[in-house]
Symmetry: C2
């Protein structure tokens, strides 16, 4: 288990490559399960030897033949700083997981749909990440992985409280369901804060593109359940699903209204963003997401026809700094990143004519 | 002499259509002569009958056969408000001239190079306007027109003071030479104010695109001589020419330095402006000039290759509100203007693909 395979690094994960149900608004759906091994202290209280034991047991379990295909183990300490960030930008692990890489291993399947963080806050964080609005499939897949692991691992489980976890907010099912929503319409009419803050009152967390405390660059919001106790996995998931459906409907209604009432202004905004992206020679990560958000909206509404909407989603992904460096194949200082980012965008948007690349 | 011929209105004047010496920096060159008829009070003090007499005498003189081709007389009062503004935007007369149209006539040649304002501040304001850096030719042509008119008109002339004019600043030669300079390089490095305010100390006036008190939209500045007394026409013109040459050199040096020291930043700026212009669906007159200024700079420096630099100069002209309305063929409210302006720009820049026009 040496350096990550570069091709593997460049491969886009499942959630980026594909679309599906309600992909006009939903980027991806995720189910995460928190599990801990019986008889070993939670990672924050465990010795090195105990953490090593956790890793070995989980690796052993993951190596078992199963219908789930081959899992690739990645020792975080053996990865370069950029490779670590690629995993975060692929949403395969949390930023916290790679910040302190000692004795932490990430296990990922070939399609980059299932990932298991070993020795994050809990011994295991099992995540299934699918494109578009697909919480049901993600939950089903999570349960399969959970069952498969449980054949060889004994988890901390209390008949009364359910699965025990390092942080009390995860006790019970240990489940967090989350959905990544693209809400440019609600943002444009300045209603996104009102809609999303209302969700906080009914047990829903709202975060930016890269989890807790991050800005909602590109009008992308991640919403997830706060409560993990007192409801079944299915109830928790159904609840989040029905809330998402409402937000999706609100976003679609706003888009319809914008098309009806201020089509030219909307076209102007969307086309200007497309024009800048097609021509810029230097562009930051933040500006890219901001402009791509407009272009994705335009592509969904049929205003932008010269670029496929899935291509726009891919661009949101491959323009992230670490992914970009992997594509270019070398470490880049910030101004170089802005240069190559602009180049990659121009190539993918198929702009031609102007001098330079 | 009824309404102006619409085709004639749409025709681009000579200074817009063509290039020439130093047209990387110089838009146009102009010589204006102030003349008054002997024995008739200056316009501000004349009765209606006297103003009518001036008009008849000048028209009579202009109708004489000559090597200068046919002159077209336009009674300002008979023009629509938009037609009047077209004349201003073509730089064929001053804004003040059409503001108070009573008993005022504009006489223009077919190429729209020579124009004579009758009964502006002086009885006659003879203007020759040529593309690029061509003060010598403009002066020569002015002298021809002046001589031709003098065959049939007697001008107020004092052996000692020269030509007498309504405003003392014009007494003497009655000549004002002016040059329209495009100075995006000096603007970009924030030196344009320093350079131009230094000119004020050596008897040079600096104005914006549309004369006295107007903003320098599009980084276009008009510089002209303040003094008209005590020097010959040739001396005044030579003086302005040599000052222009210095400003042109400074502008070119800055452009070279920008290309050498921050090529990518310059390309980024220029290409973004091109991208916005190619895609916008609504655009104001001011933003258009601002962005076209970047694109013209880019075209001059070979950064923008997909559009001819003379086409960019034409776009600076045809996107002016009244010219635009003439091209579209109807009166437009401001938001419609922004819509059609964006449409005309997209058509001329050859952008294709996006939906809408």
């Amino acid at each position: 288990m040496a350096m990550m395979n570069q091709d593997y690094l460049k491969d886009m994960p499942n959630w980026v490559k594909n679309g599906g149900d309600s992909d006009d608004v939903v980027i991806s759906s995720r189910i995460r399960l928190a599990r801990n091994l019986k008889g070993i202290p939670f990672p924050n209280y465990a010795h090195e030897q105990q953490l090593e034991t956790v890793t070995q047991q989980v690796l052993q379990a993951a190596r078992e033949r199963s219908a789930l295909g081959e899992f690739i183990p990645l020792k975080v300490e053996e990865l370069t700083p950029n490779e670590r960030m690629v995993l975060v930008e692929k949403h395969l692990c949390s930023p916290q997981f790679v910040e302190n890489p000692h004795l932490r291993t990430l296990i990922v399947d070939q399609e980059q749909t299932v990932s298991i963080m070993v020795n994050e806050e809990d011994h295991l964080r099992v995540q299934t990440l699918l494109p578009a609005f697909s919480l049901d499939s993600a939950l089903e897949l999570s349960n399969q992985v959970d069952d498969f692991l449980e054949e060889n691992l004994e988890f901390c489980f209390d008949e009364f409280r359910g699965y025990l976890t390092a942080c009390p907010t995860n006790v019970g099912t240990g489940l967090r369901a989350s959905v990544m929503l693209h809400l440019p319409g609600l943002t444009l009419v300045d209603q996104v804060k009102r809609v999303l803050s209302a969700l906080a009152h009914i047990g829903i967390n709202v975060r930016g593109f890269y989890g807790e405390g991050t800005e909602a660059y590109g009008d992308i919001y991640q919403i997830s359940n706060q409560v993990t106790l007192g409801q079944s996995e299915e109830e928790l998931t159904k609840n989040l699903q029905s809330i998402c459906r409402q937000v999706i409907e609100q976003e679609r209604n706003i888009r319809e209204a914008l098309l009806k009432e201020s089509r030219t202004q909307l076209e102007d905004r969307v086309c200007r963003s497309f024009g800048i992206l097609s021509q810029a020679r230097l562009i930051s990560s933040e500006e890219t997401l901001k402009l791509l958000s407009d272009v994705k909206l335009g592509a969904e509404l049929g205003i932008i026809t010269q670029v496929d909407k899935n291509r726009v989603k891919e661009l949101m992904f491959i323009t992230r700094s670490s992914i970009l460096q992997t594509i270019i194949g070398k470490e880049l200082v910030p101004v170089e990143r802005d240069y190559y980012r602009a180049m990659v965008i121009r190539q993918r948007l198929g702009a031609h004519g102007a001098s330079g690349v």
